[in-house]
Subunit: 221 residues, 6 copies
């Protein structure tokens, strides 16, 4: 078994893959696992609907199977955790989901977590997923910035400003002890938001890769 962490961005936007890779830099350690980020070229530019989530599953599983020998663990790097269960059927290596991992990371740093979302439409979907995972007792709520996934990088100052405002609302009105950036496209804003709001801000791909490092080094298989 190789020890590489293969992080798959299931949408086809290379600039998001690049941003994720940059966000993962602190988790690249000389003697630790290699962390490679790849783009699923068959995916849509952004994954924003149930249909989008479904259509990436087959190419995602194909990619995982084709690189199974190289990797010690896989990460599905989209906050909807598309195809996570199917991916786990496709390999015996650990497969970490971005959203699931971010919830677990958040549980380790405080009583309840909030989510900064792109659009208000995802709130019910996330609440339902959190209930599916049995974690609803620790979920504080979600606030959207009202910027679509493909527009987050357009006016970065505006995006950051709205993310900070959302984080403050989650902290003050929803009582969140930590905040999750609920979209792969928000990875670059984590540190600045945390600096501004004073509570831990979890970037989900970092959370998933952290668990993947542990899984790959210890060897859960």
């Amino acid at each position: 078994m190789g020890e590489k962490i293969l992080t798959i961005n299931p949408n086809s936007s290379q600039y998001i893959t690049d941003a994720l890779s940059e966000a993962l830099e602190p988790l690249r350690m000389k003697g630790g696992p290699a962390i490679e980020c790849v783009t699923l070229k068959e995916g849509p530019p952004g994954i924003e609907t149930h249909l989008h989530k479904a259509v990436v599953v087959e190419p995602l599983c194909r990619l995982i199977r084709s690189r199974d020998n190289e990797a010690g663990a896989f990460v599905v790097a989209c906050f909807g955790d598309p195809g996570l269960q199917a991916a786990r059927d496709a390999t015996r290596r650990p497969v970490l989901g971005m959203a699931e991992s971010s919830f677990l990371a958040a549980l380790a740093v405080g009583e309840s977590f909030g989510i900064i979302a792109t659009q208000p439409t995802s709130a019910k979907r996330h609440a339902r997923y959190i209930r599916e995972l049995g974690l609803e007792a620790r979920y504080a709520g979600e606030v959207a910035v009202g910027i679509g996934i493909l527009d987050l990088a357009k006016d970065k100052k505006e995006t950051l400003s709205r993310m900070i405002a959302a984080g403050k609302r989650l902290r003050d009105e929803f009582g969140a002890a930590s905040v999750i950036t609920g979209c792969a496209g928000m990875a670059g804003f984590r540190a600045a938001v945390q600096e501004a709001i004073g509570i831990p801000v979890i970037e989900p791909t970092q959370a998933a890769v952290t668990l993947a490092i542990g899984a790959a080094r210890v060897g859960y298989a």
Copy 2:
């Protein structure tokens, strides 16, 4: 802020600290955080009662405050998570609990987790803690090996054999998708139990240190 992970064994048994340190070897990576294991000399030889859990809190907090400048994150390495909340009040660094972290690690590898305990008396205490954390929907159950913490290392063959039997019961009768070794003194048996039962076996200190590495490298503060 330093980047060292300070792992504190709150009981005074040095050989358990040593076993933990050995179990953490795969998580020591060149270029990654140093992982130091220390023994709380004021602790009892093993922490087995509510009273034991309480008496270690003050010296534990004192130790954390005295070494706050060196560390990027702390781990409390006893499966009862003694003093975890008080420790979090004592420092702004992330403090990871061994039991809490093991539950989170288990949630990332399968639907439900079981616990291999030393004595049957801990089952209700653990169930209550899992409910306190809001994770009861994912908890399969607990099976004890009937060997006290200080005797686990006496007849290692017998200990391993009982741990494997407990793991199989958790897998087959309780439907556990993963199993947690519910005592710091069981750290050395993880790989052999996993090999025998064919589902992931989580060693809690490894789980806590994994999260600590992520927290220290990313910087939740």
Copy 3:
């Protein structure tokens, strides 16, 4: 808006579509909605994995959109409820899922329900879906007959005998007040199992079409 109930079997096995259509005969009433059953030709012969569930979503949504003008309500007739959320995004008509509807029908006839499954592997998936729906307080458990979906019709006597045995276990050991036949391929056995075990046996497509009739006649849109 038409008043037809369009029942879509998302696997490509025409004989299952035929059996469903026969099971729906009692719900065809003069003066009531037409009930048409169609086979999704792009589907696999049986839907048994997460990957199977994903690959039918796109053709299912295409079929729904292409027949949106004719139908008053749609039914997705596979116990895994594949693509249910995506289908609801694809039309403003009500879309009923087979599993979801069967749980709701069961809640109306008794305190807790059990599921007769084909294979033991589905138990965790169903438990997780029931938790996603927030209905876990009323779920008694699942017993599998150990016959694959494509083999249920091979030796009908054996299938019936195993279904009756499973139903009795659910009633007596799990305390189920009603039992759901957890596979579209079991539709033809409902009455005989109910006769043998003396508690209501819910056939999920009938449950879904019942709700679809109400939705189409009343007009939730």
Copy 4:
């Protein structure tokens, strides 16, 4: 067994029985079950207290037993579901409760449901009943119009206007995906409220009779 659905209004207000019967018109299909609505003459004019709920139980059970041979299913048509359990002991036919059925119908059309109530005093009673049924994860909340059951028909324009306002609050402030009209006396307003608020509005007697049609035609007994 007859196939008639016997719908019993347990309060003695004939005009409410008449309104229910009118609301059920879309569910009367030429080849489907007859739907008869009867008034429990021993009931109070409106059922608004725990005591009211208790005193109708005995005459309700007597009525059910006296007409047991004619009916394929019974519906108790009061939103408090008075005597529902006792009624189920009184006959082997399916007995549907109005509130219970409305919750189930609502679960099939969206993530969470709200209730439009007559008076604010019922909110805790309903919340408790929803918890008794194990459905609290899907309950959004309740808003009252502040008009007593016997006055709903007095100024219909005012009643409608307040029901629409309540529905909008449930949709916008409570996040309800559907709304239930929480009183038999509101049956006539369903369509107009739905038209105004744009999400499904569930009339509970329609929901109960829908399930009763399925139960009677399929034959759960």
Copy 5:
């Protein structure tokens, strides 16, 4: 306001009222509230069905209103808590239910409680009531002795022996930390069962009167 605790046995069996009164002897303190036990002569000999529970509500409320001036608190002394909510509407004095109080008393003495029932038919009813109260996380289960309420006093040796067996099963197989005697007619056996099984045995009328004493002396009104 008087300070008497009026304990109402809502069934018409005077010998049960007498047994309750005897069980309450330890709670009669010279300077404390008088504890009077009365029989609801309109009740059936035993309350064993939903219909029985309903028919006692009106005479129970009448009795409470007629003696409202004398009492500081009321106790409804039947394990089904018949008419408890209606009784609370009938007076401003505290009204304690026997089952509800026994659950609360049990929560104060251990992690989870079991119930010794008369007949197996009550298990689902009790489970549902416990869920209505939101206490299901602490409920271990129920074991029946298979003796009807009116026969408990016939062969006392046999009754005691079966109660002890049930208590041991609850303790050993269900993990109960305490046991509730789930029928007013079992009051006389509490001490002997506790002696035999070594964990607290809660007699529900004693539990209710204890809370009533506090309510009457402190004055919650």
Copy 6:
């Protein structure tokens, strides 16, 4: 076994012990158990942190063991229930916790309870404890008066006024049916707050001593 109720104030502020003793006056009945209040001289002046809670456990257990022969039941009179589990290990007598008992008393008088706290920082701690006890379905919320435990007695008029305001918010905005005074130092204000807000106000030490009286008189051991 003696019958005395030994009520231990685990902080070292004698004036709080005195106030508690005064609050317990109504529960001192001729012929009933003696109620003695003692101060844990080793405790801090007020218990406000996790560390405070831990350091009192050992002297608390020592005190309990030293007076085990005199007492029929013990009460730990601090709203954080410090050392409650350890205290239960230290004696076979019933040990009642102040917070736990107040929740149970509140459940007997209404659907949901609120807490009046001293400082806003305790809200998450209390919510977590309530979830640990499995009572979260009945918890309405918490409002703080913003006065530290040692300052509650300084300006009694101001304290009362803020407690009444908090009680009204809990009743009107959180829907609480009863209110708990969440600090031993608030004992003297119970009656005046209840008078002002018109719903039951629970003083936790009274609640604990009530249960202790029952336990001591009946004899759960």
